[in-house]
């Protein structure tokens, strides 16, 4: 959703990608060097290679076509963009020729652009070398996680974490997949180990996952302590508040549960209100754009005024920005200055 920030899965899985590329934030753990002997990798025949032997090879023309189709998954600004028709044609090529390069790379980009997460994970799995590197295994595990295939993710990530130790991203993601797969007891050592090593890098996500795992294993005191610490650091985090309320209720602390439940409800309602505003704004933007393009500035101003009355703070900042632009466009410098001042004030400048 629009205003739901910090989704655990996205954050964690994105961080896995960073770890794989060695671009993690300062202090973050990195995937350990590939434990597989280099010679073995060289000698190993990949599944793709084996499959390729049984299929016709792509002609130069077909390869060129695949590459050409691949360009359709970027928009004019270079951002990923899904082209359903191109994706369908790529799938046909894959049926005929298998997922060998260069089709594999094009398909990966296409699946990513089209948010076809299961297909993406399946392609990673099918094209995994016989002796994959740690990074390749981590990418595959993260892909299964993004596809919500938690058992598949755990199958890859748990052994990998065992090889690399609890200080890696693999351990964190292994724990994440195990929590989702309903195996919180197995998840906890990985989560806690990774969290301790990262020095709280996972922030509220870390507190939430560890707290939930403790809650589901019956460690109520541990869950409460973890979640309380998380809430102290992120007092408006809805998921943490909801989990803490549940932990209090489970521990028989009814008054605390009621109090925190109310905080959680308020946080969710605030978010819902924000979302309502933002989604309406998004939907109405087409009309607004038309008015702006046509120079119907009074209509634009009316729209902003209408939104302003009920707007949450984060939307007000955007609306003030819009006012500045509107007043500048309509040659109202005094109003623009006032709006700019209000914007600065809102931002605490």
């Amino acid at each position: 959703m629009l205003v739901r920030a910090g989704l655990v899965a996205h954050t964690l899985i994105a961080s896995a990608a960073l770890a794989c590329s060695g671009e993690g934030p300062p202090g973050s753990s990195k995937v350990a060097p590939d434990p597989a002997p280099a010679q073995a990798k060289v000698e190993a025949k990949t599944k793709v290679e084996a499959e390729a032997e049984a299929r016709p090879a792509m002609s130069g023309q077909t390869s060129a076509r695949a590459t050409e189709l691949g360009t359709r998954f970027r928009d004019a600004k270079g951002k990923p963009s899904c082209d359903v028709e191109a994706l369908a044609e790529l799938r046909e090529l894959r049926e005929r020729f298998g997922p060998a390069s260069p089709l594999r790379e094009v398909l990966l980009a296409a699946f990513s652009a089209c948010d076809e997460r299961v297909a993406l994970a399946q392609l990673h799995a099918e094209t995994l070398p016989a002796t994959p590197s740690a990074q390749q295994r981590l990418e595959l595990g993260a892909a299964w996680l993004r596809a919500s295939r938690y058992e598949d993710a755990a199958e890859i990530l748990v052994p990998l974490a065992g090889e690399l130790g609890p200080t890696t991203k693999a351990a964190w993601l292994a724990g994440f997949s195990l929590v989702h797969a309903g195996r919180p007891g197995e998840a906890l050592p990985w989560l806690e180990g990774a969290r301790a090593h990262a020095g709280g890098e996972q922030g509220s996500d870390g507190a939430l996952l560890v707290g939930l795992a403790k809650l589901d294993t019956g460690d109520l005191d541990g869950a409460i302590a973890t979640l309380e610490a998380g809430v102290a650091a992120s007092p408006t985090n809805r998921s943490l508040l909801a989990a803490l309320a549940r932990a209090y209720a489970s521990a028989g602390r009814g008054d605390d549960a009621a109090r925190v439940s109310e905080q959680a409800r308020a946080a969710f309602e605030h978010a819902a209100k924000s979302e309502r505003q933002m989604t309406r704004l998004a939907a109405l933007s087409s009309s607004l754009s038309e008015a702006w393009d046509a120079g119907r500035y009074a209509e634009v101003e009316q729209f902003i005024d209408a939104m302003w009355a009920d707007a949450p703070p984060e939307l007000r900042e955007q609306l003030l920005s819009a006012r500045v632009a509107l007043y500048e466009r309509t040659d109202r410098p005094a109003d623009a200055a006032a709006a700019r001042d209000a914007l600065a004030q809102l931002r605490g400048q």
Partner: protein, 603 residues
């Protein structure tokens, strides 16, 4: 329904009108923002599956020896019913939501009748619809359409149906929910027809009602009425939404929630007690509800499934005042604490631990949540651990019911599926508008296996299913089901599972308690396990399943003792009872065998 919201988030941050407006023009969003999450927002959800036509996990062989089977007998049984949604080029949200159905016995002949809550016509729609339909069943699969004779006529845009005996005369009455029109309360005139008593009973909610339930909220022996409501939405101020250049259904996230309503039965009149009952303090975008004594304290609680907002667990204090405990109990959100787009709900003891669990259908890419209740009253979401999650994410589910297909004593799970966007295939290559319904067989240790692909031609069908109701339509001891496709056909699925176990069926009638025995609990010990069932005032989505208690007995040919806890707490023991028999049990009296459809059993 689909929405296009995220692309405009960035423009807002761009600090200028130009950016705000221009960037919100149809243009490709970033991939993370792209999924038009539909009615119900998928932006943060995991992806839709690669191949929605197939389960995300390969079907496994069930552990029981019986292959669960359903045959599509709609034509064979002479049923030719079609739901009308009146779809409009403007893509109004109500038109992809409705399709309620009921399996009830309106004429007390012991045979199930079929009621369809038709949609009809939104302003400017091409299809007028035909109004609600009532087909009387003969107990053997033949139906007669008596809609006109029973006084049913098109009136308002229908959503769903609820059923209960509001005046205790022994004849089941109906409550019809609707969009942008007055809901209707129809009193059953001794099996001769329905009479609209909405005004006389003081029932006049307007806006958008979805599901409803009759329950004895204040434990006074008569049935009260809970009405679930959705969003504040009118055709006049509806908004057009776009995903790139594709016109899509808007998300409900952009509309305010309507609070639900609770009406207390004052004897011939309902009084709105929503405020004093604590109901109106929790407005949410409601679509479905289930009733049950969820905390095992002798009264009837409620669980309300809400779309893109937290779900509600309303715990009854026994006097009709409800405390919302969903957040603290762990059933308001997903496992990680986020709202889901919940559609339907059903209650069962899914892991045979003696506590009621909740199964909640959600949007595509979200699991059908399975909340299992624990000793301390909290719940744990375990859809993935139970084997449901991955398969359910591959479909968009609405109706849901527990159903012991093979009469082995445990309840399997059935969901009615279908996307909300008829043009979803133009922006999601692998997602289909018409989808296969899902059957999950319970195997062992509270685990389930998706057996949809191997369960017969009824489940091979791909449709846009919404309402789902379960009952033994042909009286052969196997639970059948009926699903309604939104703006499509009604399908009747006959249970053709070979070598089903034995069964007993109990039609309970209260005397000192509500006549329909809603809230009564039945316990039977058989084959080393204790089976517990409850007469529920509501479950599924917009629909009503047969209220008779159906117990699969496996190999047992006799039940030594049946214990009934009537609403209010009175206990009654029955037995021994022979298997494979339908019994009517009036509170305080012995069980009376009957043959469905053979004769009218007078109140």
């Amino acid at each position: 329904m689909t929405t296009v919201t995220s692309p405009c988030a960035t423009p807002l941050a761009a600090a200028s009108i130009a950016a705000l407006t221009l960037a919100c023009k149809p243009e490709p969003p970033a991939p993370e923002q792209a999924p038009p999450r539909s009615l119900f927002d998928e932006a943060e959800a995991p992806s839709e599956p690669t191949n929605p036509a197939e389960p995300a996990t390969a079907p496994q062989a069930p552990s029981s020896g019986r292959a669960l089977q359903f045959s599509d007998v709609t034509k064979a049984w002479g049923v030719d019913l079609r739901h009308h949604a009146g779809r409009n080029p403007d893509r109004w949200i109500p038109e992809i939501m409705n399709g309620g159905v009921a399996l009830i016995d309106v004429n007390r002949d012991g045979a199930l009748d079929l009621f369809l809550a038709d949609g009809g016509q939104l302003a400017g729609s091409a299809e007028p619809g035909v109004g609600p339909r009532l087909l009387l069943g003969d107990g053997h699969g033949a139906f007669t359409d008596v809609s006109e004779a029973w006084g049913l006529r098109h009136q308002g845009y229908g959503m769903g149906v609820s059923a209960g005996d509001i005046d205790g005369d022994g004849w089941i009455d109906l409550y019809l929910t609707s969009f942008d029109a007055q809901d209707r309360l129809l009193r059953n005139d001794a099996g001769q027809g329905f009479v609209d008593v909405s005004a006389a009973w003081g029932v006049d909610p307007r806006g958008w009602s979805t599901s409803a339930a009759f329950l004895d909220a204040d434990s006074d022996g008569d049935l009260d009425l809970y009405v679930v409501r959705y969003i504040r939405y009118t055709l006049a101020d509806s908004i057009k939404c776009w995903f790139r250049t594709i016109h899509v259904y808007c998300t409900p996230a952009m509309y305010e929630a309507l609070p639900d309503l609770l009406y207390r039965n004052e004897g011939g009149r309902f009084t709105d007690v929503s405020a004093e009952a604590g109901i109106d303090a929790h407005p949410a975008k409601g679509l479905a509800l289930a009733t049950g004594d969820l905390d095992d304290d002798g009264d009837t609680d409620l669980y309300v499934a809400n779309d893109t907002s937290r779900n509600l667990l309303l715990v009854n204090d026994g006097r009709g005042r409800f405390e919302e405990a969903g957040v603290a109990s762990g059933v308001a959100f997903s496992q990680l604490g986020r709202e889901e787009a919940s559609m339907g709900v059903a209650v069962s003891d899914s892991n045979a631990d003696g506590r009621w669990d909740l199964a909640v259908t959600n949007f595509q890419s979200e699991p059908t949540s399975l909340y299992t209740r624990r000793d301390n009253g909290s719940y744990r979401e375990r859809s993935d651990a139970a084997g449901i999650g991955a398969s359910a994410r591959a479909r968009l589910s609405f109706g849901i019911e527990w159903i012991d297909v093979d009469n082995d004593g445990d309840e399997d799970l059935l969901t009615a599926n279908g996307h909300i966007a008829d043009n979803v295939e133009s922006y999601r290559e692998q997602v289909r508008f018409a989808q296969q319904n899902s059957l999950y067989e319970r195997v062992a240790d509270g685990r389930f296996v998706d057996v949809s692909d191997a369960a017969g031609d009824a489940l091979a069908y791909r449709g846009v299913s919404r309402g789902l109701a379960v009952g033994d339509i042909d009286g052969d001891g196997g639970l059948d089901y009926v699903v309604v496709d939104n703006d499509g056909p009604v399908q009747i699925a006959r249970n053709t599972t070979a070598d089903r176990g034995h069964f007993i069926s109990l039609w309970l009638e209260g005397s000192s308690t509500n006549r329909g025995a809603i809230g009564a609990r039945v316990s039977v010990s058989v084959g080393g396990q204790t089976l517990v069932r409850e007469v529920r005032g509501a479950s599924s989505y917009l629909s009503v399943s047969d209220r008779r208690i159906h117990l699969g007995l496996g190999e047992a040919t006799r039940v030594e003792e049946v214990t009934i806890r009537w609403p209010g707490g009175e206990q009654q023991q029955l037995g021994p009872l022979d298997a494979d028999t339908h019994y009517r049990v009036v509170e305080g009296s012995a069980a009376q065998a009957y043959v469905p459809g053979a004769e009218v059993l007078q109140p």
